[in-house]
């Protein structure tokens, strides 16, 4: 669970933001509205980075941050105050913040965390030719997965390759962070330190920081291994996600890309047309090659551009079209808004 002060990071001095959107983004609650607003807040890289977040505690923290004048209520959400900004900067100066939060979404992070522990432990015991040891507490699924890979890739030089990669990955990192990451592994005659113990040793980082650092370094190491393109490629690759879309939205998007009409997709997948549209909005947010023109025709583009081009996408109001008696599906309005929002990035 993130600490109270760490939440200030997600607020801005210039853009009012609704805390509920931030909470849902961190929890990976994927309604189109959450994703859309998460995109507008430039926070989608944080999607699903705090799956253990307690919604009640989050809301309490926000109330406290308001009471402490770090956040200020505005019509469109909460704004970071001057002292809130200072507090945020102080916090960021001391605590650990993931360096590549978007990596968390790109692979099965939980499974990889287990697989990585097994990789280091098994590699370590192998280097000492020891077969009798208690396997690190990991899920059966991870053990089964790792065992299969290990049987196919066990070789005389495996331990050395693990060691080489680990050293070269950590070589460019801050000393204290590298030390903490290395102290989190079990192996032959080596017992990992717990987050509480590491926090006590570090004197800089809290338990929460240590847990975040471990997760962040684990996924960074996975991405590092993928780039090396050696024996570990086949260990990490199956854990990478093909797409940032939810499974169901991905299936819909695949059919859409094959040219299937929205109505037909609904029939084939036995879902409502409104669900198909939601899936495609999700795809429009995440997929850079999304073909907006397949849904919005030239004439509709012109109407939308004429009505909204002067304002930033965030300030557009669908009501405006209704007031002018222009009949255009909200779905197309929102798609256009997503397309134009991309220019902001």
């Amino acid at each position: 669970m993130p600490s109270k002060e760490s939440l200030l990071y997600f607020f801005s001095r210039t853009q009012s933001r609704r805390p509920a959107v931030i909470r849902q983004v961190l929890l990976n609650k994927r309604t189109v509205s959450n994703l859309f607003w998460g995109m507008q807040y430039h926070l989608l890289e944080w999607l699903g980075t705090a799956p253990q977040l307690n919604a009640g505690a989050f809301d309490n923290f926000i109330t406290q941050l308001k009471a402490e004048n770090f956040l200020q209520e505005k019509p469109a959400g909460l704004l970071l105050t001057e002292i809130g900004l200072k507090e945020k900067e102080n916090y960021e100066h001391i605590h650990y913040r993931p360096k590549n939060p978007e990596f968390f979404q790109k692979l099965d992070e939980k499974m990889w965390g287990d697989v990585l522990q097994l990789l280091i432990q098994v590699g370590s015991e192998l280097s000492y030719c020891n077969k009798r040891y208690y396997v690190s507490a990991t899920s059966y699924k991870a053990q089964f997965y790792f065992k299969r890979w290990f049987q196919q890739n066990k070789s005389a030089g495996l331990s050395k390759t693990i060691k080489k990669n680990l050293l070269s990955f950590l070589a460019g990192k801050l000393q204290e962070e590298a030390d903490i990451f290395a102290a989190s592994f079990n192996g032959h005659g080596v017992i990992a330190k717990t987050a509480v113990q590491l926090a006590k040793s570090s004197e800089t980082y809290t338990v929460e920081d240590i847990n975040t650092l471990w997760r962040d370094y684990s996924v960074m190491f996975a991405m590092y291994l993928i780039k090396q393109n050696d024996v570990f490629y086949s260990l990490v690759k199956p854990l990478l996600k093909n797409s940032l879309l939810s499974n169901s939205a991905f299936t819909t998007y695949e059919l859409f890309n094959k040219g299937v009409s929205l109505e037909k997709i609904g029939q084939l997948r036995k879902v409502k047309l409104s669900t198909v549209k939601e899936h495609l909005l999700e795809a429009a947010i995440f997929e850079h090659n999304f073909t907006f023109e397949r849904i919005i025709n030239q004439n509709e583009y012109k109407i939308l551009a004429d009505n909204f081009s002067e304002k930033a996408p965030l300030d557009w109001n669908y009501q405006q079209l209704k007031e002018k008696n222009i009949q255009l599906d909200f779905f197309k309005f929102r798609l256009f808004q997503i397309e134009r929002s991309r220019y902001d990035f």
């Binding site: 965390g113 522990q117 280091i120 590699g123 370590s124 192998l126 280097s127 000492y128 030719c129 077969k131 009798r132 040891y133 208690y134 396997v135 690190s136 507490a137 990991t138 899920s139 059966y140 699924k141 089964f144 005389a156 030089g157 495996l158 331990s159 050395k160 693990i162 060691k163 680990l166 050293l167 950590l170 000393q175 204290e176 590298a178 030390d179 903490i180 990451f181 290395a182 102290a183 989190s184 592994f185 079990n186 192996g187 032959h188 005659g189 080596v190 017992i191 990992a192 330190k193 717990t194 987050a195 509480v196 113990q197 590491l198 006590k200 040793s201 570090s202 847990n211």
Partner: protein
Amino acid sequence: MISDNFLEKKLHTFFGYTSFKEGQKQIIDSLLKRQSTLGILPTGTGKSLCYQLAGKLLNQTVLIVSPLLSLMQDQVEQLHFIGEKKAIAVTSELSYQHKYFVIHHLREYDYVYMAPEMLQKEEVLEQLKTISLGLFVVDEAHCISQWGPDFRPDYLDLKIIRQKLGNPVTLALTATATPEVEQDICRQLFNENESIKIVRRSVDRPNIFLAAKQVDTQQQKDEYLLEILPQLATPILLYFSSKKKADEISQLLNDRTDLKTAAYHAGLSKKDRYSIQQQFMNDQLDAVCATSAFGMGINKKNIRCVLHYHLPADLESYSQEIGRAGRDGQRSLALLLFNPADIDLQRHLSSNSLPDDGEIEYYFNHKDLINSCLQGSDKKNLLEYYAGRFLTPLKLKQIFKKRRFEREKKLQELIAYVETAKCRRNFLCKYFGEEKKADHNVDCCQPAGQPLVLDNFLLHKPGNNYTKSLEDYRKVISHLFNENKR
């Protein structure tokens, strides 16, 4: 009995031990004669070895019913550790495909662990019928007894499941059972005409000194801990009823004493729990502040003191937990700190895990609502089990009222143990239906009202090899990977 040397030889071949602990040989002998057996062996006397060795000798699959996921995983880990790779726990942790594979290839495994709920599944039962089970083991068999503290309604169906499997030879195992619970296990698990061999070993552990210390406030309790713990021989295991308190006291001990301490409870990550277990096993920690989640599967021989910071639920739990002390036979201490205010805390914990009348009514009238409120809790499982048996709300209220009454009775027995001015050892033995032990003496226990003299337990602890500061990652990595090999 099978020839004297045969079993010892096999014990040595498979497990490397030269002799049996009390009760083990009798149980294995009985099982090999194909007689169902109830084994009541105190914690630490090697209950699991009974079915593990019998399984080896019978050369058929052994099915072990176990109530807890963590317990099953620990057992499988230990079997893997001794080189027995054909052991598996069929749990929700397995992926669908993996579970499907295991269920359809049961005969390929020597030891299969399952929770009782898994046995309710038709598919699982059908596959079990197709193999020849060497042994049907019910671990923690006291869970079957409504009189027992850990009653699990799913255990009540085990008799029917046994019947469906053709009444295989069964071993029921428990660490503690009053005569009432013993009878209940036999009645609930076995058929009327079955002859059951009962092997019971005393709960008494003569090398454990039994003591209790009464304090009036929480603050006094903490002060007392800070005073005595640094003087006591280590390793020490402290039990708590709350995760928060375990964390707090661990922090207090780390800050105010030179003891290396860690907290252990279900709120920690699996990874951290594994580390703490391993550090404790390898004498890198002086003390662990734990909830009852700690202990299962931990076979550490040299624990010098088990200290209860809070009251346990009953004497069954207490004797199991103190049984982790002194497994090496050396003198050890079981000390219970008692503040009368703790009674309400334990009472609250105890009754809070049972649904009250309001929740029962609500369950029947607004199932969806209460389901979301009680998601994943023991209360929901209990309500679902009984409601599935078409019991009326009134009947359910009566059942839980009775259970609450039973728990209160158990708690009162525990308080009586704390407050007894007589021999605590005899009190415990009597509670478990055992005969009076040797007359009380000063090495046996400290009855209430007597001064608590801990001179025998004030050994200076050996220096441990736990380092507090961070090590250079290059050094850690070169320890992890042996340069000279592979």
